[in-house]
Assembly symmetry: C3
């Protein structure tokens, strides 16, 4: 079950070009994506209306798409402008494009009722374009995990000391800090503050200070589009960083992480971790990307293993622990939104 | 859904020997095929009646087939002549052979009611034995395509300029020529004539003339057994070739192409392209075979890609174009024949 | 359908250690097995009660098992002794261990009602620890065979001359000897005696005598746990070996073979062939193991091929032969036991 009347990340900006189609499955539907002559993203179902041949096996002629089975040619609007061997082209020979909007270096797609596709609903991810931040695009393909199972992981920090014992780390303290949880219509905000803790391994090469440090993790999770944006960082302990007085040498980060269901059992995970310091040193962003990539592979391993067990035991109850508070709230809000959408459709 | 009371090509002559069984699935049924002592083809279900071990894991002893699980031995008639450890052999310990007839270097099998298996119904493919023609046997295994999806392709020429843009070619003209369509009880005949067109790339090395040329493609499609036989060729333009006056230097070809369902979702495609000129030059037939093989791989690519989309969207309507005329007729005749067979069985 | 209230072989002794968990599926259930501090085997379902992450992706800390998703720690009793970030641990945060008993170098597991798990019901396999015998553990993983299809093979000797023509051999005589069949509540005993037959190839290097020989095969098959134990051997012909007077130079063997269903369609096959002569020569046991391993791969090949045909033809009747007597009885007893267990559960 997916929310449909929401914007999802379909692709990262660098994935879309005018030369080559990107074939990608989203919400169970095969699509082709490319850029038209103006550079704007275009998304079609990946099948010709004639005999259902995949358009991704076709070719771009300028910004028109030629199906390479029988040669039908379509404009970015979906209109068919050439049928070899035929003069008149009926109005039903038409592709139905999906609304797609590029913003903040992400291509957002609307796969529900097109009449409701209001670009004003696209959530903020401005850090990806803001000159005060630097980020590299990251991607994990979850071949075997439902998006909610991954959402559980993103809303839970007690796993940090175990799944990421040798990378992000944090030890038991990640589980022991009591988060502040705020609920909204759109999702939830979780704030976690760590006072005077050791400097984690992955920050050792970046910090101009040593431990103890104060750390903060303030993240907002939007159920519509499954977007996590997190403000996190570290500063020398006891200088008031947790009260908002972040010193100039604070290491400040901002993530943009989006889960887009591929199918009920597989998920696209688009992520960025931006740094807001030492902007002239590209190696920092590169190293941050590299380390995050390793850590997210650790998540993928355990989440896919967990998903296999869940799938094999569909009726098995889970026994809750205190650390489940945020993910339980996240699931409750999602359930409410799914019901609302189902009700609106009925 | 398959027609059952018809002859299908089970194998090409060279595939059957007296030394070794051929294991092949046809119409969803696993079979073993070999030649008996007289050289005649034999076909059995690929399972021993005793404990269902596959006979293809057994061995030939002369022209008798030994199951190598418990040693039962069967004659080409299907009679069991040896059960180790047992004197008397009951009449139900018997394999049920399928009617198989070899003709024109093809082994034809009847998998419906054996009482109806009249060899007079085997369609003509005499070119494969006729000294006036030369051909090499070709084969494509469609692992993921229903035979009707491939039939669509064989009955359609508008794809030539796109799927085979760099091989068989023909450009838009293939789509633009209006075919003459004749309907019969057994299927349909399509005749296509091209006046004064360029010499296609794949004929450049064979022709003693340059373009413009006249080309003809006259093909008959039999729904029973899915046999396409095509008379096609080229001659210098304006010499009357399209009216039947084929000059001595005309390049004349004859194909024999047969689709035999393997399962509902996979198909055997047995093909030959014979040349009726320069019979002393074996390299012509070899080159013709090589080029056709490449072109048929292009078909396989697009057809299997199309089949995957069709399977994922079983309820999706196709929107017709003018070039669909022949395949629509072919599907209509097939539907009629399937209904007739279902009615006769009821 | 499996019997559940019986002991099954879960693992061979050498597979279980204190350092590393063994992940294994038995009767459709994923388990982890290891040894506790005392060396006793422990078996848990391979899923954490918290969020169902596989425990086999966790780690042992002493003889306690840490789930490496959120860090929950469990004792061999199943009790949870640590939940990071939480003081009080509720009683439902508990793993449910399976009864496991190690005996005769086999770990026996009870996956039915734990209240019925009486170790006195574990069948005898003392030869694996008896100093009068030597054996090496063997294992075959049947990825694609139901245990009953393999049971058929173990209860049938007519296949020896065909499946094992070039290894165990025996030729037609294996099929022609009439076995003595005795039925019991627990299963059946089959006794086969061969007077004055040739020495089979695989014994040529072991015997201090040449043919003709007398051979015996006396095997007991227990349906509960699918355990075959076979007393077999060879001695010079005519010295009374078949009447129980086994001479000192007789080659005496004892097998212990156990089938444990992995799923309905796959099976674990744990086997040992012990020799009771030349105990000082380890190469005899090694060679016996090597040859048996090859022969059992022959069985696996034909059985899995047969299973594929059975699965494709679920309604196909099998036609019986005389050699099926023992396996028919085995199936009848199994059916009775399955009904009894289903009745007891109702």
């Amino acid at each position: 079950m997916f929310l449909r009347n929401v914007w999802y990340v379909a692709a990262q900006a660098h994935e879309l070009t005018q030369d080559k189609m990107l074939a990608r499955k989203l919400l169970g539907e095969d699509l082709v994506l490319y850029r038209d002559a103006s550079g704007a993203p275009v998304a079609f179902p990946d099948r010709c209306v004639h005999r259902l041949a995949p358009l991704s096996a076709g070719r771009l002629e300028g910004d028109r798409l030629r199906c390479m089975y029988h040669g039908l040619l379509f404009e970015p609007s979906g209109r068919c402008v050439d049928v070899p061997g035929q003069e008149r082209i009926g109005p039903n020979l038409k592709l139905k494009p999906f609304p797609v909007v590029e913003r903040h270096r992400l291509a957002w797609i609307w796969m529900g009722d097109p009449a409701l596709a209001d670009p004003a609903l696209i959530p903020d991810a401005h850090w990806l374009e803001d000159p005060a931040w630097r980020a590299l695009p990251g991607y994990v393909h979850y071949e075997r995990a439902n998006y909610v199972t991954i959402m559980d992981n993103l809303l839970d920090f007690s796993h940090l000391g175990y799944v990421h014992e040798n990378t992000l780390g944090g030890g038991r303290v990640s589980a022991e800090v009591i988060p502040k949880l705020e609920l909204f219509d759109w999702g939830l905000r979780v704030s976690r503050f760590y006072s005077a803790v050791p400097l984690p391994a992955y920050l050792k090469n970046l910090a101009k200070f040593e431990g103890p440090i104060d750390r903060w993790q303030i993240y907002e999770w939007r159920l519509a589009g499954n977007l996590l944006t997190m403000d996190f960082g570290s500063a020398p302990a006891g200088k008031g960083a947790l009260e908002g007085n972040r010193p100039p040498d604070a290491l400040v980060f901002q993530t943009v992480q989006a889960l887009t269901p591929e199918t009920e059992g597989s998920t696209h995970y688009f992520w960025h971790v931006a740094n807001g310091f030492n902007l002239d040193d590209a190696s920092i962003t590169a190293e941050l990307h590299r380390q995050t990539d390793i850590a997210f592979a650790e998540d993928k391993f355990i989440i896919q293993a967990q998903q296999a067990v869940i799938d094999a035991h569909p009726d098995e109850k889970m026994v809750g622990i205190a650390a489940d508070a945020a993910l339980n709230q996240g699931r409750a809000i999602l359930k409410r939104m799914l019901s609302a959408e189902a009700g609106a459709a009925a």
